[in-house]
Subunit: 330 residues, 2 copies
């Protein structure tokens, strides 16, 4: 079994090594072909190893700077050359690792990864491709989630082609359908970008283009892939997060109203917990930064151990499926 | 007490007169200064009056065509001059009614209202301004929800000014804060439209501009108003609808799993019902089509009687507060 080696930005995300180290230990236990390189401050990382300070398939690569979650990507790119994020990406560039995973600042990750790794031949810009839950077990690939704003039709075409490769290779969907996000189904609807992109997608023989899709239909799993501009995709994702949090807040408040509702809440707890598990974002954590000469997976900043493990798994799946070669041959 | 007269598109929406007529009866009972004109097919309307076929403050204005919910707005505009929607808007133009309310096809409503009523002096394009729930009792005014795509910075400035007037006059918020929807808080983030609009909003003395706001923050009530392009706003709203439906589906499924969970669901029913009431969109139904020489309120197509009543109430509030004169004086 060939060894897979993945670099992890151990300092990234809201929880840093307190999540990354336990996730790393969990993953090397589960996968005997996996080696992980934890990049960051060795003292801070070692604290979370508990009993032993070592694991034969986990290495530590020192990096003493950290990119802040709210830090401007220009600062991160220009003045933090020894950040855990940058050093992790460098390991991919230098073929020391086949992929890297970071829960750090998205803007900085896109900027640094693009600067260090460069885009693949034929790809103008990288995109962030996320996984979206639906009513079925199926997850939908949704991109771009914020890497490219003011995108051109040809960018969206490239995104559609790259997501088709991901969906086929990783999700094992044959001839995955591609929807173009719009504000209606009629041809006359939408902005200029959407109208011009529709013509490009329609005429490309490598795509299974399914036409326009509205934003509520992303969650019904109407198509396997949904493509849009990065500004729009980011807004769709964050608006969804906002309302989901609001609903969970209302649920909590309804059950906390008085003694009686609290008692009923206690009885309903197992059901509410199973529900929480169902909508738990860690189940589909791990967005892919695709289009670069190297595999980079972005974990949600607030991901827990299970969530970060899922992001490592996504990176493993991509390493195992020759994504980069396939995208290069588009 | 001066009489308020409002025209209702009785055939619009998923439920047509079966919702509009009971809502109309409910509202004239509650407001003795209210007269309503039900526009549509008299035979279909009268069916829902139950015992009496008449109410002294409800009139019927016959119109024998209907705009389909999925009909193209160009067809609706060009070839359905006797549609209930168009006749209701004509009543506003001819000063027979001070406002109109429709739950019909949004695209058709915007196109017909704009064609018949024209925009107010100083306003280039009308916007759809919706009400968004937050953790507090406060509702946020969010626009544009789909009237204008490929908007220019000056359109968004006009939207911000109009929403400020609505928020002050209707919601009684003094000096309401305006957020500009973006995908981050830093100056460097966002697309060209957002960057150029920020400069315009910043320098306008009539606005309480609060800077960039991310899509998840819309639901936290961070600002009183949120402004964005119509394509983006429509996507944010529909994505929110999509995930909300998905979560409610998961809740139902969790409680329907087996006999035990169903039993617990039965015990928890009053709480779940109160929750449903809390997130019930009828509580904040009624988006305003602002910027026109006439008041037009759009009800959600699927609104129930309470929801449609709320939309009529929104129209009444606008009639009572001289919105049009105030917008004209921007």
């Amino acid at each position: 079994m060939p060894i897979i080696r993945i670099a992890l930005d151990a300092m990234g995300g809201d929880h840093g090594p307190s999540v990354v180290v336990p996730a790393a230990l969990r993953m090397v236990e589960a996968h005997h072909d996996l080696e992980l390189i934890l990049v960051g401050n060795p003292d801070k990382i070692k604290k979370y190893f508990k009993h032993s300070h070592q694991h034969p398939r986990i290495m530590i690569k020192p990096a003493y700077e950290e990119v802040g979650m709210d830090e401007s990507f220009t600062t991160a790119l220009r003045s933090k050359k020894d950040s855990s994020m940058r050093v992790a990406i460098n390991l991919v560039k230098d073929n020391q690792a086949q992929a890297c995973v970071s829960a750090g600042n998205t803007g900085a990750l896109v900027a640094i990864a693009r600067f260090v790794l460069k885009t693949l031949p034929g790809i103008d810009k990288p995109a962030i491709c996320g996984l979206i839950p639906t009513r079925t077990q199926k997850l939908v690939r949704f991109l771009d989630l914020g890497a490219v704003v003011d995108s051109k039709p040809e960018h969206l075409l490239q995104f559609a082609l790259m997501a088709t490769i991901l969906s086929t290779a990783i999700d094992k969907i044959e001839n995955p359908s591609v929807g173009l996000l719009n504000i209606g189904h009629e041809d006359i609807k939408g902005n200029e970008l959407v109208k011009q992109t529709a013509a490009l997608l329609q005429s490309n023989a490598a795509l299974n283009y399914a036409g326009y899709i509205e934003a509520d239909e992303i969650y019904s799993g109407k198509t396997d892939i949904v493509v849009c501009d990065g500004f729009v995709g980011n807004v769709a994702l964050k608006a969804s997060e906002g309302i989901a949090k609001l609903i969970l807040y209302y649920i909590k408040r309804a059950f906390n109203k008085n003694f009686m509702t609290k008692l009923i809440g206690l009885i309903a707890l197992p059901i509410l917990k199973s529900l929480h598990k169902e909508i738990d974002p860690s189940r589909y954590n791990g967005a892919s930064l695709i289009g670069l000469m190297g595999i980079v997976v972005k974990s949600h900043g607030g991901a827990n151990i299970i969530g970060f493990s899922r992001a490592i798994e996504e990176a493993m799946l991509q390493v195992n499926s020759n994504i980069l070669e396939e995208i290069t041959s588009i």
